[in-house]
């Protein structure tokens, strides 16, 4: 059971990393941050919080290693976003599809701002700061759309519970 859940999460992260660095790395308009989104959506599952934080950290680290930015930059940001998601998930779960999507959007916006802020502090502004304003708008919006469509499916897949995350 544990192994199967870990396998599902691992596969999802790998697929997200590959899609993020290929398809969404090429598009200028449709630019969700799938890897960050996984960290956020895992907070809606029944997985242990330490495991969620670990997955967020490792997936961020993989993105750091594949790019040219500092190692640990995305790991720190994704972990922080996942932690805040864990702390605020109960409020999100009280609402419906729109509430969860907005919650995801706000967390993504926080993640993007943190990435720009910490990146700038560590001298990475040139690398990650290109089109900062459009990134702050487009990435959260795209994540809102993806979350609205796929959050219930993702949660049910990870929890292996067809009744999980039913909207009222």
């Amino acid at each position: 059971m544990r192994g199967r859940t870990a396998l599902v999460i691992g596969l999802t992260v790998v697929i997200a990393v590959v899609i993020q660095t290929t398809l969404f790395g090429r598009l200028r308009v449709v630019t969700p941050d799938l890897v960050m989104l996984i960290g956020i959506m895992l907070a809606l599952t029944r997985i242990r919080t330490e495991a969620i934080l670990g997955v967020a950290f490792l997936s961020g680290l993989i993105m750091d290693l594949l790019g040219a930015s500092l190692i640990g930059l995305r790991a720190v940001v994704y972990t922080t976003v996942a932690y805040i998601a864990i702390r605020t998930r109960e409020r999100a779960e009280m609402g419906g599809r729109v509430t969860i999507a907005l919650w995801v959007g706000l967390l993504t916006l926080l993640g993007v701002v943190l990435l720009l802020l910490i990146g700038t502090l560590f001298g990475q502004a040139a690398l990650i700061g290109e089109g900062a304003v459009s990134v702050m708008i487009l990435v959260p919006l795209a994540n809102v759309a993806v979350a609205a469509l796929f959050a219930p499916t993702f949660v049910r897949l990870v929890d292996r519970d067809r009744t999980a995350l039913r909207y009222p």
Partner: protein
């Protein structure tokens, strides 16, 4: 274990991971991307790049189609601008062909060899990107090494190879690099630096010339300088888009690079410097002995390696 109820260890785990993350960042800064960090990057890229390559086959047509759709609105304006550009380029090409013919003739007369013509080139596909960095499908087994300069198929400068694994490499464009690029504008040498938080629409860089003697004008071409340690001299980088005159002895203006890294599908990695290690340290090359025989009617010069006796 993995799927259980609420845990109270979230905060200690979070703080531990934050500390590890900050340590990693500090470590990376101190190592300047080398050592263990380079090994980790290479290993991760080696694992992920085959999947990225497979994904790119499926993704590229979709990405191209979506890109085209998003560009439909501006196609007419682009067409008009490109037609005008084409006419100008054709006129310039005729002039350049004349110059090339003269150059070839002079080279023939003086028996000159063209420097840089033998540079090894590796053409690679762009299979993805992370932030502003590009991922290509060629790596160390194709001769791509960290630090090598990268140009596009027109010869315009893109950037340098940041890291390379066996089957892929990461390219850091000049527009995303923290290091300044030493360039030549006319007869003046300056430094091209990135403008952080630049807009998607207007890719621009700042040019600083600290010993400016004359103004620079909009349209002046910016080339890589022989003083640059990262690029061969004379590669086109971009053009000046604002006139600027020296203030005291310095001058600052704006340059638009010729290449938009996000629009690239293919890149060319140059094997430059051609042989940096052996050029500096190789002492295994046998010394050459030159025998000159003067005959009554002709002078013959023969060159033979010492090993051959």
């Amino acid at each position: 274990m993995l799927t259980s109820k609420q845990s109270d260890r979230a905060l200690p785990t979070f703080i531990t991971l934050l500390v590890i993350g900050v340590l990693l960042m500090t470590f990376d800064v101190r190592l300047e991307g080398g050592g263990v960090v380079a090994v980790l990057r290479g290993g991760t890229q080696a694992i992920v790049s085959p999947m990225q390559r497979i994904a790119a086959y499926a993704v590229n047509p979709i990405a191209n189609a979506l890109d085209s759709l998003s560009n439909v609105a501006s196609l007419r304006e682009q067409n008009a601008a490109l037609s005008a550009q084409l006419a100008e380029s054709q006129a310039a090409l005729v002039a350049v062909q004349d110059d090339l013919a003269k150059l070839a003739l002079l080279e023939q007369i003086y028996d000159l060899e063209t420097d840089g013509a033998e540079l090894g080139q590796t053409v690679a596909n762009v299979i993805g990107s992370v932030d502003a960095a590009l991922i290509i499908d060629k790596g160390t087994r194709n001769g791509v090494l960290a630090g090598q300069p990268v140009i596009d198929t027109n010869g315009y400068v893109i950037g340098t190879v940041e890291s390379a694994s066996s089957g892929s490499a990461t390219i850091l464009p000049i527009t995303a690099s923290r290091d300044g690029l030493t360039v030549l504008v006319g007869s003046q040498t300056g430094t091209l630096v990135t403008r952080p938080f630049s807009s998607d629409l207007g890719l621009e860089m700042d040019l600083d010339i600290f010993d400016a003697r004359e103004p620079v004008l909009a349209g002046d071409r910016v080339l890589t300088s022989a003083a640059s340690t990262d690029y061969p001299a004379g590669l086109p980088v971009g053009e000046v888009i604002e006139d600027a005159s020296p203030e005291s002895t310095s001058l600052t203006t704006t340059v638009r690079p010729f290449v938009d890294p996000e629009a690239l599908r293919f890149v060319v990695v140059l094997a430059w410097p051609p042989d940096p290690v052996s050029a500096a340290t190789d002492d295994t090359i046998p010394e050459e002995v030159t025998d000159t025989t003067v005959a009554e009617e002709a002078t013959t010069t023969t060159t033979t390696p010492e090993d051959d006796g």
